[in-house]
Each structure stands twice: as structure tokens, then as C-alpha cells.
Subunit: 151 residues, 2 copies
DNA sequence: TTGCTCCTCACGTCACGTGAGGTGGC
DNA sequence: TTGCTCCTCACGTCACGTGAGGTGGC
């Protein structure tokens, strides 16, 4: 296994994720998603990790509606948690560990709360739509009745 | 009851809805939300219907994530349905009625499908978060264990 | 008369879209 | 060698944010 195992071109990654190549370049510009490699000629090369990271970004964007700065913060906390595995072997303080995990847990909990809130709003909205649908059926029926009399 | 029963000033309406006055002026510019009246001196005056319409716009924007052109289309169909009541008395064709209602019903159905899809995505996302939370707890426990040995 | 809210430009911003003009890999 | 994909500017767009500078109603 090569060190720089980044086989995917920007076009492939973009199409599979349902975004434009411009979006990927913009995310790189913001420091959100740096492609793992660069081919001869300056072409961006993305790894499986990059693809997974992109999916995570798009999930937070599409599902939660966060702006890119907020997404950056969330990913940063998760990156630190992931990097902790390395640091463990080199021995960092237990207090530091606990801080990093506590931060990740707090973010996770807040996200779940926001998801629950969104679900509640959606349920409410669906009830409104159902009520509207019932009213439409009533109107349609009444017009049918009118038609039977006048038409 | 006066004809132009529009008591609310732009600042009140904006604050209650949780948007800026700029947003309301922009929606007027787009023809999305025309205030029912204008006071002496050119101040916008909003009616209860205007406030309800704004709530509807913000729901479609926040909950569904639609752009303002799409929202305009949806409101337009609903407006036509609401205007039908008047037209009934003046006698328009039954076929025309059925067309307008069919359109409203179709939009309603598509909206409910999209709501259902969003709910499914949110449930999926929540499951991911739950799995992540479980992993965090595991890591925290392991560090606690390490600490018990090394610390 | 004094604040507070309103008004209209008009430029700025975020998250990209969309060419222009050119280079590089199968 | 020919397409196709990639590259970097750089201006455009959508949905507003944010002052500038001024007028109007309690």
C-alpha cells in the first residue's frame, strides 16, 4: 500500500457526491477538505478518507443546514478526537484526553437535540399539510355536488 | 371594520417572525409579500393575513429549504385556490375549478413526500450520532481503565 | 423638541455558478 | 493527435447584512 493512496479525480468525487467541482475547490480554499494528493500537472487526488469527509460535510450542510464555519468547528473537534489515538501512544496527559472527549460528546449531544427539534418541526408541518389535504378534498367534493345540481 | 385593516409596522412583524426588516423589504421587492397598506409618509403596514403569509414563507424556507422562487410558485398556487371562492360566486367553469384544485393537491402531495424523505434522512442521521456517542463512551471508559493502570 | 422607527440607496458577504482561456493525461 | 478532464482567474448570483444619510410619527 502506497503512502499517498488517493486515486479519485475531482470530477468523480463531485459527481458521486452530487456537487460541482467548484464546490470541492471552494471547500479546499476554506480548509474544509484538503485532497490527500496532487498528481503530476497539479491535478487534485482524493482518498477514501477525503470522500468520507466530504459526505460528512454535505450531511451537516444539507440535513442540519449549518454554515461552513460551523461545520469546520465540528469537523475540527472530530479530527482532534481521531488524532488522539496517535497521541495516546506518545503519551499525553489524561486530563487532555478527557477534555477532547468531553468536547466531542458535548457536540454530539447538541447535534442530537437539534435533530430532535427538526423532527418535531417536520411532524408539525406534516400535520398542517394533512389538514390542508383534507380541506382540499372537501372543496373538491363540494364542487362535484354543485356540478351535479347546476351542470 | 376599515377596508385597509393593516395595523402592524415592519419592525414588529420582523421581530415576531425572527427575521430582519431587510428580509421583509426584500420579499416585497420579489413580489413574495406585499404589505396590505402604506401609512402617510410611506411606512409599510402589515395585516394579519400578511403575517400569516410570512409565517408560511419562513416555514417553507426553514423547514423545507426551498429557494424563494420555488416558494413563490407554491404560494401562487395557494393564492389561486383561495381566490377561487370569489370566482365561484361569479361563476367560472367547473373544469377550471378542477384544474386549480388538482394543482393544489399535487403540490400538497409532493410536499408531504419531501417531508417524509427528510424525516427518513434525519432518523438515519440520528442513528449515526447514537453510534458515535456509544463509541465515545467506549473510548472514555478505556482511558479511565488506562488511567487506573498507569495513573 | 427629542428619540425611536421608518425610508431609500448602495456596497459587502456567503456559497457557490459560470464562462474565459489554457494545460495535461489516456 | 484528438477528446475529455483538469487548472486558475474572475465576474455573476441569491438572499440577505450593514452602514450612510435622511424623513416621519408618538
Amino acid at each position: 500500500m502506497a503512502r499517498t493512496d488517493a486515486p479519485y479525480r475531482i470530477g468523480e468525487v463531485a459527481e458521486r457526491a452530487g456537487v460541482s467541482t467548484r464546490t470541492l475547490r471552494y471547500y479546499q480554499e476554506l480548509g474544509l477538505l484538503d485532497p490527500a494528493g496532487t498528481s503530476s500537472g497539479g491535478n487534485r487526488r482524493y482518498s477514501d478518507d477525503d470522500v468520507a469527509r466530504l459526505e460528512r460535510i454535505l450531511e451537516l450542510r444539507n440535513v442540519m443546514g449549518f454554515d461552513l464555519e460551523r461545520i469546520h468547528d465540528i469537523l475540527h473537534a472530530e479530527d482532534r478526537l481521531a488524532a488522539m489515538g496517535e497521541e495516546v501512544r506518545r503519551g499525553i496527559s489524561r486530563k487532555r484526553h478527557q477534555e477532547i472527549i468531553a468536547e466531542a460528546v458535548a457536540i454530539n449531544r447538541r447535534l442530537r437535540e437539534q435533530v430532535a427539534a427538526k423532527m418535531a418541526v417536520l411532524r408539525d408541518f406534516d400535520e398542517q399539510l394533512a389538514a390542508k389535504h383534507a380541506r382540499y378534498e372537501e372543496i373538491a367534493e363540494q364542487i362535484g355536488a354543485d356540478a351535479a345540481v347546476t351542470g
